[in-house]
Amino acid sequence: MKRTVKTTLCSLASGLLVAASAMTPVAHAANGDTLKTVKERGNLLCSGHNGSYPPFVQVTDDNKWSGYDIDYCRALAVAIFGSDESLKVVPISWAQRFPSLQSGDIDVVIKATGWTMGRDTELGIQFSRPYFVGATNVLMPKELGSTTPETLSGGSLCANAGTSTERLAANFFKSRNIDIEIISFEKSEETRAAYLAGRCDSFVGWGPNLAVMRQSAENPEDHVLMDTALALEPESAAMRQGDDNWVDIVNWMFAVTWIAESKGITSANVDERKANPADSTEEKLLGVSPGIGSRLGLEDDWAYNVIKQVGNSAEIFDRNIGSGSVYNLERGLNSLWSDGGVIVPMVLD
């Protein structure tokens, strides 16, 4: 996601990025390299943000990192070291994500990063399975009475200038022959303030950002989402190309939180479940029978530690984005497939 970054910065950064990647013909990591480096160094370097990007990366009142993405950084550190004390969150800007990954400033990017073909093939990085999907949508006042795109015909739309969202919205309404005036602003705070002050009839943005904004409105219930999403973007963790073992670890770190949720294992009951595993999958997951660790180069109780210390995917979502947070965003597509979402845990055998 690069919605809040200005066009000039994007083009400058991508120019430098191309320059940086042109200079790095040997940035490919060998299989197993990253885990070895991380273990030798004694800490995991994960991506943070230069400021905050709620609800993914933000700072608590006592100066600590928190957020949905930070929790997955913690889970990865716990998987490797058994405790999140070895996690070092490195503040980086959007433009810096991939060059910093290549130069070894960070070991993994878990930062609302969309999986695109260009990034996947040209930047020397590879992606994990998507761990979050975010829909670009339009927020509009409830008093309009209807939530179809046609409702907005003849009205206006607030957007952040020069972002992919702005182009997406223009194309979306054009293809439906809906006449809408797009008013764009440089800073996302301005865009938000303009909509809330009634300068435009609607506001286009990325799902979680919309939720954050709605939460700051005087009466959050007065604003509703349009019934048609403009686009859906899968967010994945990014790693250096070539280290398959590292990709496996990150993928299975995500999978473990999903499997735990599907089996109803939470940070609260994990000890109980470990004492009385229901089936062989659970035995394997919680390290009662060996296999889950040794195949990745980790300890066999790593998944148990992750569930115990960070929680399953439902807990992570609720704590940071959902009902347990101020944002109170519905989980929707980010639920497991059994609850109508798109998240499908891999099979642990």
Binding site: G51, V59, D61, P91, S103, G104
Partner: protein
């Protein structure tokens, strides 16, 4: 009353006061003709209204403490609760909560060092070097730790005001001597040195600061061997210092070129060597000549430190963004920016007032 007596005194005791009394001056300047009076009245009302609006927003209708945050939604004034709840993030960034006293003390030491070096008593090479080595060393020890039982806190956790001050001080500390060398180098009698230095300065001046910082943070790790890389913070500071030095060198060179050639020649006839001529004749006069632009460059640099946020540092502006960047506080970004602007204002305003004091002291423009 007092001013009345005073103006009476000045009128009777001293001969021919240059200025008339305040009330008379006001009358002459603002209410001379009916049109003037009208203009003054209208402008005064508009100003008073604006001032009232600002005061009302900032003080009268504002909410002050974090506990009163629920009242903010209905308040017409500022919601300073965000500052109350999150000021530690603005001031200290990601510095561990329990160690904030270290960051506070470090800032005080650094500001003390900067203030102390403003006093003419310290203006010898030796005293300044000792002062800055001690000040900088103490600052670094407090921030980084590792000695005397202080826990180690690595630079990626530094942030807020402390980081802004650190970057500014480090850039000045490296950049100032470098700028003198560059200025002297560009005026060297050896063409090769003069041309090389000229090329160096023009090369860095033709690049945007953003590019230099991005290259220092992101691209140099690909080019430099591991042992030479150091922390990202130091690479960025070196890049920034070179940029600063190139501009400052041109300011100093302007000052050097304003010195009549006779000055240097007089030094030569007295048998002074190059070092003596530079340190006793050329540089003191050069500094005096280009003082306004030198101070200007410091002011610009202090404000430009906020650009490092682009390469992922938690300086005061990024910290401010983190402070309001959570669900509870997103709508109160204006208060956070006003708070940061006030901090910048205190620093930059003191810097420019000091520049004005120096100019007066050295009587720039009066000889």
């Amino acid at each position: 009353m007092r001013s009345g007596i005073k103006s009476l005194n000045t009128a009777s005791n001293t001969s021919a006061p240059p200025d008339a009394s305040l009330s008379h001056r006001i009358k002459r300047n603002l209410f001379d003709t009916p049109f003037d009076s009208l203009l003054t009245g209208v402008c005064g009302l508009v100003l008073a209204y604006l001032l009232y609006q600002i005061v009302d927003w900032a003080f009268l209708s504002s909410i002050w403490t974090a506990e009163q945050e629920p009242l903010c939604r209905d308040a017409s004034g500022a919601c300073w609760s965000v500052i109350d709840a999150r000021h530690r993030i603005i001031l200290f960034g990601l510095f561990p909560f329990e160690e904030h006293w270290r960051s506070t003390l470090a800032c005080v030491v650094m500001i003390g060092t900067i203030v102390a070096s403003c006093f003419p008593w310290f203006w010898t090479g030796k005293k300044l070097s000792v002062l800055w080595l001690c000040g900088f060393g103490t600052f670094y020890l407090l921030m980084h730790g590792g000695l005397f039982g202080l826990s180690v806190i690595t630079p990626e956790k530094w942030g807020g005001l402390a980081l802004t001050i650190f970057i500014f001080a480090a850039v000045s500390l490296i950049g100032m001597p470098l700028s003198i060398l560059l200025a002297l180098g560009r005026r060297s009698k050896l063409p090769i040195i003069a041309r090389m230095v000229g090329l160096f300065i023009d090369f860095f001046r033709s690049l945007p600061l953003l590019t230099i910082l991005f290259a220092a943070a992101v691209i140099t790790p690909f080019l430099l061997p591991g042992w030479l890389q150091g922390d990202k913070l130091y690479r960025v500071i070196v890049g920034f210092a070179i940029f600063f030095a190139c501009y400052q060198a041109e300011n100093i060179r302007a000052g050097l070129q304003a010195i009549p050639a006779g000055q240097d020649e007089a030094g030569l006839t007295l048998g002074l060597n190059y070092r003596q001529r530079v340190s006793r004749i050329q540089l003191p006069q050069a500094f005096r000549n280009s003082l306004p632009s030198i101070v200007n460059q410091f002011v610009i640099t202090f404000k430009e430190t906020s650009i490092v946020t682009i390469v992922g540092f938690f300086e005061i502006l990024a910290s401010g963004q983190a402070a309001y960047g959570t669900g509870q506080w997103t709508q109160h970004y204006i208060e956070v920016y006003v708070f940061i602007a006030a901090i910048y204002f205190v620093f930059v305003f003191s810097l420019s007032r000091y520049g004005a004091y120096l100019e007066k002291k050295l009587r720039v423009g009066h000889d």
